[in-house]
Symmetry: C2
Subunit: 217 residues, 2 copies
């Protein structure tokens, strides 16, 4: 089993590797909120345990074993988030910190029972896919940033790329929550105007916001 700290490193590296194929010491330090020197020490330890591929100054990637371990943590995190929102009625912007602790509860049997108890959900409250017990998961097909929509297009909100509480609260206030259908009524250089259904209220959202909302046509 891995320590609490090792798990956090694996998880952070996993997330960094979603958008590139090598993560740097500084990026990891920023993600974890620690110093580069500390990261270097931990990278040596994780390499020793064959959880990452590491060569000095060259950045890191996960080994197959490391990826598996990371996916277990991601699975736990997302299932607990689902539990907190669906069973304990927390808002989607409140659950991250709690899930950061709960994801380190070791029992695999517990997480499998929790999964079953909730009906094996495939997506967490932010639209992120929940890996199954084998680490397999499917992202929504054809998910794209709302920014790419053109005038007249209609789409359903299915995810976000910014998970910060402030962004999620902004969306909540604007009724731009998961599952919501939006229609683009206007596109300018500065923002999109969208019609939110079923409330049928019109709305402007900035490029920055539209970039971080993921939709399905």
């Amino acid at each position: 089993m891995h320590s609490f700290t090792e798990e956090n490193y694996l998880k952070s590296i996993y997330h960094l590797l979603l958008s590139k194929d090598s993560a740097t010491t500084n990026e990891i330090a920023a993600a974890i909120g620690t110093k580069a020197a500390t990261v270097t020490d931990m990278l040596k330890k994780l390499a020793e345990k064959k959880l990452i591929n590491y060569a000095r100054y060259q950045g890191v990637s996960l080994t197959e074993q490391g990826r598996k371990s990371a996916l277990v943590i991601v699975r736990k995190h997302r299932l607990w988030e689902y539990f907190l929102v669906e069973k304990l009625q927390f808002k989607w912007d409140e659950v991250h910190e709690m899930a950061e602790e709960l994801e380190h509860i070791t029992s695999v049997k517990l997480i499998d029972r929790l999964d079953e108890f909730m009906g094996c959900p495939r997506f967490d409250p932010h639209g992120d896919p929940i890996p199954d017990a084998q680490g397999n998961f499917k992202q929504h097909e054809s998910l794209q940033p709302a920014l790419l929509l053109s005038k007249g297009q209609c789409a359903k909100i299915a995810g976000v790329t910014d998970h910060s509480a402030s962004f999620l609260q902004y969306l909540e206030k604007s009724r731009l929550t998961l599952g919501q259908t939006i229609t683009v009524t206007e596109v300018s250089n500065y923002d999109l105007s969208v019609m939110v259904e079923p409330s049928n209220k019109e709305f402007n959202i900035s490029h920055e916001v539209a970039k971080n909302i993921l939709v399905l046509l």
Copy 2:
């Protein structure tokens, strides 16, 4: 907030103080599974933080603040055990280790929501009382060891004093679970014979076992 380790010390001291009014260094070491020297260091730290009353060589007791902190941990432990048994279908002998981890999840809001979600249970799966958010709880009135029953008496199983998995499994196999009604049909020097309802099967249980089963008349 207290560290994971500090919480374990407070919890162990709390449990030791249930049957006496001072806990010794060695008792704490045995309860936690560590060495006496280690305990001494931690006792100094807890005393520094005003969580325990400590004088060298004299044993320890909890301060009001220490007791409050211990009760929060006991509350968390027992609510999680209830959740694991009632919602996730674990057996009463399987939940202890998981609850030992879950009890350290910090969020108080989470535990209060969990409490509410489960309908504010007053007793955990072993019959132990669950403190409320203020740390108040009521033990069953007139709870007594089954050992004290005399021939012909009828009583309901409402708790255990031995929480080990092996004891709980033994009881499970013998249908001697919480809520079960038993009638004493015979008392010898070596054991009690009891009639278990509603299965109406007769049974012998040793003094040692009868001592660790708590019943209500």
